[in-house]
Amino acid sequence: MTQILHFGALGLYALAAALLGVSLARGSRTLPRLATGVLALGVAAHLADLAAYAGRWQELPLVGLGPSLSVLALLVAVGSLALATLGRTGPIGLVLVPVAAVVLAAADAVGVRPGGEEMAFRGVWFVLHVVAALLAYAGLAVAFAAGLMYLLQFRELKSKRFGAVFRFFPPLETLDHIGRGALLAGLPLLTAALLLGWAWTERFHHPLSAGNPKVVWGVLTWLVFAGALAVRAGGGRREHRAALASVLGFAVVVAAYLFLRVSTASSAGFL
């Protein structure tokens, strides 16, 4: 049952992404609405899948690489759905939904089952730490999507190309607002996640060294958030700089994760 729901959610995400791609190519008005509906079904299937996981394993899907990636994919998909329905900026799903699908596929590849070391000190602090961190990463994904689309739309407008991107993508300022909002929401969440993680390990006498991959990646991500917000200071093309920083920062965070992951291949945890 869990497998059906999981692959169902993955299939629906892929279908929603494909519908958005066709909408971009054809300039269709109705397909984005259909894509939003399909995405909503995907989110529902994904939620049911994670609920089934919690019921089956008697724990929240927050420990281990597969479950964590699955929750991250869900948060990204929920972000895309919220932007499509509340913010009426469904086209941002053109980037976000494939991100959610890829992350969910990665979760499938590594296996969605409890993993990682047995931790006797799991509790509310741990849950808050993981949830805040995953929400922050989802925020970074939203900022990346908005930034990438900003750069493409900016190029189209500047070079006077009034094609599919011009028609389908949201206005520059809307994309900038989404990116800024995602970073502004993500930074405090990530800060809280890092502090909670630190306090949690200290409390249970498992302090992490400065060279621990979790610490390295957490601090690097925090710096990316702070940097993407900091480049907005000053004059000139602030929005353009911020979009570029979001895109590059996301790429750096993903690359760093993959590098750290490979270098610590024995771990069954998130990192």
């Binding site: 300039g27 008005r29 109705t30 500047k158 006077k160 009034f162 520059l172 000139g236 602030r238």
Partner: protein, 437 residues
């Protein structure tokens, strides 16, 4: 029952003819009353700068369209005799389809333009407010036709892309600005030049919520006049550089023979570059803004060719939507026609029902005279029983009559029913007799 439209539009008549055919709002009541009286039917007169059309519903059939032709020809004075070459006429389904296309903007000079829908509503309202000695000149047929036209036009706009995208240079300017800023509410605009294009573009921008407009013109009085009319602020021509840092949108439409905004001047006005996106719309010929200004960071510069490209792209996409729009129109016409054709059978259905009720009542009264010993409850039961019997017997003929009307066989069905049930006081020939004849 006939439905007809007689008129002339930009497709059939040049502007010199169209302007003479046009009716002012004050002329409509008299013209409508005359039409309704002469045509002996319902009438609506739609008159815009691109078309003058008379819509008629003629319950008695007849050739009321001649009255419409006469009315329109009379507007042409000495050329009345040759009016026929400017006029077109559609009847029945084609007339309904024509109105639907007109209301949806499919017959407009600019494909998909929305103003015609409002003008059709105004024409309909004007006719509803006009009455002759028989009452309003709009009856059930045109009432239903126009209401369905508004509904079909709404569906065409919402279900197809026929109204999407800018279809004029000023609205293309707004579309481009919106792609940069999203909402234009509260934005500031600087207008260089106080000509007609500036005015139209500024009107479009203000319609989108642009809050403050600063107008600069070489003739300051003209700038003041435009600023006062459109609710902006006039500044001296020499001072427009100082206004540049505070605006989001610049519209240039001067008659200057050389660029008024050069890169040097731009850099002098904004030494650190544009602090936020600046949209410059240059609709002047020759151009007012040096192309190099468009290379400045954060500056989006568009000239009239760029805007025209947006318009052409949009119109091309609108044309691609025509097939979908035609399908909606066809469905709307069939729905309307099904209802309209059923109007022809209504008197027969009513007569059939009245006759059935009269026979029932007479028979019940006769029977109850012989059954006077029955209680009131029993008598009521007999009354209800007979009413149910008559209703059930007449149900099938009623439904079949309506179906036949919808299928275009209403006349034959009406004749048959009236013959079989002897609904006409005079002897009525049977369908068979008619065929024999």
């Amino acid at each position: 029952m006939t439905l007809a439209v007689v008129g002339a539009s930009h497709r059939t008549a040049p502007i010199e003819v169209r302007e003479r055919l046009a009716f002012g709002r004050a002329e409509l009541p008299a013209a409508l009353a005359r039409l309704a009286a002469e045509a002996r039917g319902e009438a609506v007169l739609l008159s815009t700068c691109n078309r003058t059309e008379v819509y008629l519903a003629l319950p008695g059939g007849g050739d009321g369209a001649e009255a419409a032709r006469g009315l329109l020809a009379s507007r042409l004075g000495a050329e009345a005799a040759g009016a026929a070459r400017w006029l077109y006429e559609h009847r029945d389904r084609a007339a309904a389809a024509h109105l639907y296309r007109v209301a949806a903007g499919m017959d407009s000079m600019i494909l998909g333009e929305p103003q015609i829908l409002g003008q059709a509503r105004e024409a309909y309202e004007a006719a509803r407010e006009t009455a002759d000695e028989h009452g309003s000149v709009v009856g059930p047929a045109l009432n239903r036709l126009f209401q369905s036209a508004f509904s079909v036009a709404g569906r065409v706009r919402s279900e197809t892309g026929l109204g999407r995208g800018a279809a004029s240079v000023p609205s293309a300017a707004v579309e481009l600005a919106r792609k940069i800023f999203g909402s234009l509410r509260g934005r500031r605009a600087l207008v260089l030049g106080a000509g007609e294009m500036s005015e139209i573009t500024l009107e479009c921008l203000r319609g989108e919520g642009v809050r403050a407009a600063v107008v600069a013109n070489r003739t300051h009085a003209r700038a003041c006049e435009l600023a006062a009319r459109l609710g902006g602020e006039a500044i001296r021509w020499d001072g427009f550089d100082a206004a540049l840092p505070g605006v989001d949108i610049v519209v240039c439409s001067t008659a200057a023979p050389h660029p008024v905004l050069t890169r040097e001047r731009f850099r002098a006005a904004l030494p650190g570059g544009a602090p936020r996106p600046l949209c410059i719309i240059d609709i002047a010929l020759p151009r007012d803004v040096e192309p190099a200004v468009g290379d400045e960071p954060n500056v989006f510069l568009y000239n009239v060719d760029d805007l025209q490209q947006v318009v052409e792209d949009n119109l091309g996409r609108r044309r691609e939507e025509l097939a979908g729009a035609e399908a909606i129109i066809a469905r709307g016409v069939e729905e309307f026609w099904s209802w309209y054709a059923s109007l022809a059978v209504v008197p027969t259905i009513r007569a059939l029902r009245e006759q059935g009720e009269a026979v029932r009542r007479a028979e019940v009264e006769r029977a109850l005279r012989q059954l006077a010993h029955l209680s009131a409850a029993d008598q009521d039961a007999i009354d209800a029983l007979t009413r149910a019997l008559v209703n059930k017997l007449l149900h099938a003929p009623t439904v079949k009559l309506r179906d036949a009307a919808g299928n275009g066989r209403g006349t034959a069905a009406v004749d048959t029913v009236r013959y079989l049930f002897e609904l006409d006081p005079d002897a009525h020939p049977s369908p068979h007799d008619q065929e024999t004849e």
